[in-house]
């Protein structure tokens, strides 16, 4: 049977009452866990795992697929309404989503997020279906040499996209890299910059950094200015607002396509996931825009770009998962655990021996990507009641929710303290014009960049340049990096002339 036939069969199986019930239940759980900051899809799957024991394997897959397809959109709702992302990948959505809400356009932002999530998710899964026959070769062609070049490409893309003082951007990136190198060195096992604390052995955890930089710092800066913390949010949401949001996605289709391609590609790289995908997509949209200055003030493109990438990455991250049983994210790691508990061993034979599982999951994710957006929009009228909160309540509420989210993710108060320290750094960065985005992305890609370079040096016998030049896929990536740098220089020269 071909992939399309198998998918059609899997879609047919979904018409079963119980299949739909488990899928719907998964979507509701996914939306809820996505929308409550700090919970997210991984927690939802862990909590559902014991319940799946009573289900047949395929029913467990429908339930898990429903959750996995719905959390991203769920997470965008508090990102837009409260400036606190439900899940880490929704951080980029706060940058323009929340300013839109403060202008009374929350409905439009949620409508755009729903449509971009659904379409981005469909794009990612469609791409997955197309490349599935070549998944094995594709995954095997990306070794440490290419991972390093891809990381450099990501950093180059970001620096090319950022406006403002080049030196301050560089310093921000350098600070992010320095923070990334804290903890145990995976290559040698040596501890670096741990200050004798066991807490820092695994490095500075991601969530406190993201929360401190993107959630706490802006709220505290606003609070310190003495002005009202935020404008009064508009509680009314007309159907026309949502419709405008949805149609804006179709009007800005190049942004949607670019975001979906970036999401799918970054999703396929184990370890990076949705957070980097959505930030890179956001910055690429800003770079391509003729009016980059409106980003951050409440443009709908700033919602479409990260949300499409965030959901498209699900399709990409399933490539290494389905081809070799390598989880592309924490969520897929738990999903693989559920499969093993049901007697299905993920590995190189899964695509051949467990086609029912593979296509059942793809069908469930497809329905969930679209279904969750529709359900989310139906409930959004009630969700928007949160926008009726008095403005003065927002700052303490946001601070409390953000810190609670950090705590429940690890049950470690030191993470809460770390978020507060990082928030102070974030405030200083905002006041003195340093790039928070460059800092965070450098922090996230730092470890993989370092490890893959050192692995390449070891594998190549100390001559990485020759090694790169002998691999066509590496040469292609080097050309892309050079092209990005050339565009950056050309833009700078043009700006200088103007």
């Amino acid at each position: 049977m071909t992939g399309v036939e198998l998918l059609a069969e899997a879609a047919g199986a979904l018409l079963d009452v119980y299949a739909l019930l488990y899928l719907f239940l998964g979507m509701l759980v996914g939306l809820f866990f996505g929308a409550v900051p700090g919970l997210g899809g991984t927690t939802a799957l862990v909590m559902l795992t014991p319940l799946t024991f009573a289900l047949a394997p395929i029913e467990a897959i429908y339930l898990a697929g429903g959750v996995m397809g719905a959390t991203s959109f769920g997470g965008s709702i508090p990102a837009i309404l409260l400036n606190v992302p439900g899940t880490a990948p929704n951080y980029a959505t706060t940058l323009d989503g929340h300013p839109l809400a403060r202008q009374g356009k929350a409905g439009m932002a949620i409508g755009a997020s729903a449509a971009a999530s659904a379409l981005g998710g469909l794009f990612g899964l469609g791409t997955l279906l197309l490349v599935l026959p070549f998944a094995r070769d594709l995954v095997l062609s990306l070794g440490p040499a290419e991972i390093f070049l891809l990381m450099v490409l990501a950093l180059t893309t970001i620096s090319a996209a950022l406006p403002g003082d080049g030196l301050k951007t560089l310093i921000s990136g350098g600070a992010g890299l320095m923070l990334a190198f804290v903890g145990s060195d995976r290559m040698s096992g040596d501890l670096r910059f741990d200050f004798g604390s066991e807490y820092l052995w695994d490095g500075v955890p991601l969530l406190p950094v993201l929360t401190g930089i993107f959630a706490l710092a802006p709220v505290l800066v606003l609070a310190m200015t003495g002005r009202p913390v935020t404008d009064r949010l508009s509680g009314a949401m007309a159907f026309s607002d949502i419709r405008d949001g949805v149609t804006s996605v179709f009007r800005n289709w190049p942004v949607l396509i670019r975001g979906s391609v970036i999401g799918t590609m970054i999703g396929a790289l184990p370890g990076l996931g949705g957070t980097v995908a959505s930030i890179v997509s956001y910055l690429s949209a800003r770079r391509a825009s003729p009016t980059p200055e409106i980003f951050g003030t409440g443009t709908i493109i700033g919602v479409i770009a990260p949300e499409s990438a965030n959901n498209a990455k699900d399709g990409g991250s399933l490539l290494p998962t389905l081809a070799f049983g390598i989880p592309g994210s924490a969520e897929t790691s738990v999903f693989l655990g559920i499969l093993i508990l049901h007697g299905i061993e993920p590995g190189p034979l899964m695509l051949i021996e467990q086609q029912g599982v593979v296509f059942g999951l793809i069908a469930a994710l497809t329905v969930s990507a679209v279904g969750a957006s529709i359900i989310g929009l139906l409930f959004s009228r009630w969700l928007l009641k949160v926008a009726n909160l008095e403005a003065a309540l927002i700052a303490p509420v946001v601070t409390m929710i953000a810190l609670a989210a950090v705590y429940v993710s690890s049950y470690d108060m030191r993470d809460v303290a770390a978020a507060c320290v990082i928030a102070v750094a974030g405030i200083l960065m905002m006041r003195h014009g340093y790039s928070r985005i460059c800092f965070v992305v450098a922090f996230m890609v730092g470890p993989d960049t370092e490890i893959s370079l050192r692995q390449t040096i070891l594998i190549s016998g100390g001559d990485p340049l020759d090694f790169w030049m002998s691999r066509p896929q590496s040469v292609l990536l080097i050309l892309l990096i050079v092209a990005t740098l050339a565009i950056l220089l050309w833009r700078n020269q043009r700006l200088g002339r103007n």
């Binding site: 991984t42 799957l45 862990v46 795992t49 014991p50 024991f53 995954v139 095997l140 070794g143 440490p144 145990s184 060195d185 995976r186 290559m187 040698s188 096992g189 501890l191 004798g196 066991e198 052995w201 695994d202 184990p270 370890g271 070799f324 049983g325 390598i326 989880p327 924490a330 790691s333 738990v334 999903f335 693989l336 655990g337 093993i340 508990l341 007697g343 299905i344 061993e345 590995g347 190189p348 034979l349 049950y411 490890i451 893959s452 050192r454 692995q455 070891l458 594998i459 016998g461």
Partner: protein, 316 residues
């Protein structure tokens, strides 16, 4: 006076009987089962598979709690420092945890004091190479034109130490390429040709052997257990079965023997249940449940071997 005597006698009986009553009532509330790694991994899966069976036997909820961090030391410390009342137990990775403790001073626990309850499984380590590799034996690997490269996840991982110890004892100079993101990613490194081979659990390699991507050339054990694959004992390097990964369950020091025995029985019974056995057969995950004596002996054997090979100073 008589009243005082009666009161004192009552107090004495109360003191003597109190623990016995507490033990008789045990368990009366949920038991926390700590996994020192994130959800979805090998150790987590074993615990989640036996937890429902334990609930049926003990009649209380068994709550699985993931406490990852610091090379499994965060979870291990949480178990070690909990009350020895039988309501907190954890799964331990040997020899991984013994190695992890040797990397820093703030270990916060002594493996010799842990109340060892049961052993769940043993995964024998094996050397795997790409299916189309020209390496057919350990001699081929060691006597090539250049020093062979082997993939591992990190310098302090069990796989890295097994590589270092096994190839060190076989007088085989090599280069370890650390930093792969998990065993499967390291195996991909072998398939891609980044490295010549990998030493990792044979059951992890099994699915790649079955798909025709990886070939086993050596198992780290005295007697060969896989047909057609030489063992390290046959090669002339004995004792390497001590590098096998053991999934051992233990609780905090000082746990009353009666509670420890009941927990041990419940764990062994759960791991021996038809459902868990069928799951083990389906997925190829090894299972060899054993009680307290075997678990303690495994820990002592593992520590002694590592001390002998200079990998750790032991748990003093």
């Amino acid at each position: 006076m008589r009243k005082l005597f009666v009161s004192l006698t009552q107090l004495m009986f109360a003191v003597i009987l109190a623990p016995a009553t507490a033990m008789a009532d045990w368990p009366e509330r949920p038991i926390t089962f700590i996994v020192p790694y994130g959800p979805g991994g090998g150790f987590d899966i074993y615990v989640r598979k036996i937890a429902p069976e334990m609930e049926q036997i003990l009649g209380v909820e068994v709550v699985v709690q993931n406490l990852p961090g610091a090379g499994s030391q965060r979870g291990a410390t949480a178990v070690y420092k909990s009350e020895p009342d039988g309501y907190t137990i954890g799964i331990w990775n040997l020899p991984g945890i013994a190695l992890a403790t040797s990397t820093g001073d703030s270990r916060g626990f002594d493996l010799l004091d842990v109340t060892w309850l049961a052993e769940l499984s043993t995964s024998t380590m094996a050397l795997g190479v790409a299916a189309d590799s020209e390496i057919n034996s350990l001699s081929d690997l060691c006597n090539g034109s250049s020093e062979p490269r082997l993939a591992t996840t990190g310098a302090t991982s069990t796989s890295a130490v097994a590589t270092r110890v096994a190839l060190g004892l076989a007088n085989c100079p090599h280069v370890a390429v650390h930093g792969y993101d998990g065993s499967n990613d390291a195996i991909l490194g072998v398939m891609r040709g980044d490295v010549a081979g990998i030493i990792t659990p044979a059951d992890t390699l099994a699915k790649f052997v079955r798909s025709g991507d990886i070939r086993l050339v050596l198992t780290l054990e005295d007697m060969a257990s896989i047909q057609g694959v030489q063992s390290s004992g046959e090669f002339g390097v004995p004792g390497l079965q001590n590098l096998s990964i053991r999934r051992v369950i233990g609780g905090p020091p000082g746990m009353p023997a009666e509670i420890a025995n009941r927990l041990s029985d419940a764990i062994v019974q759960s791991a021996s249940s038809p459902a868990v056995k069928a799951w083990s057969a389906e997925t190829g995950r090894p299972l060899s449940p054993a009680g307290r004596d075997q678990a303690t002996s495994t820990v002592l054997g593992s520590l002694a071997f590592l001390k002998e090979t200079g990998e750790t100073s032991g748990s003093e």
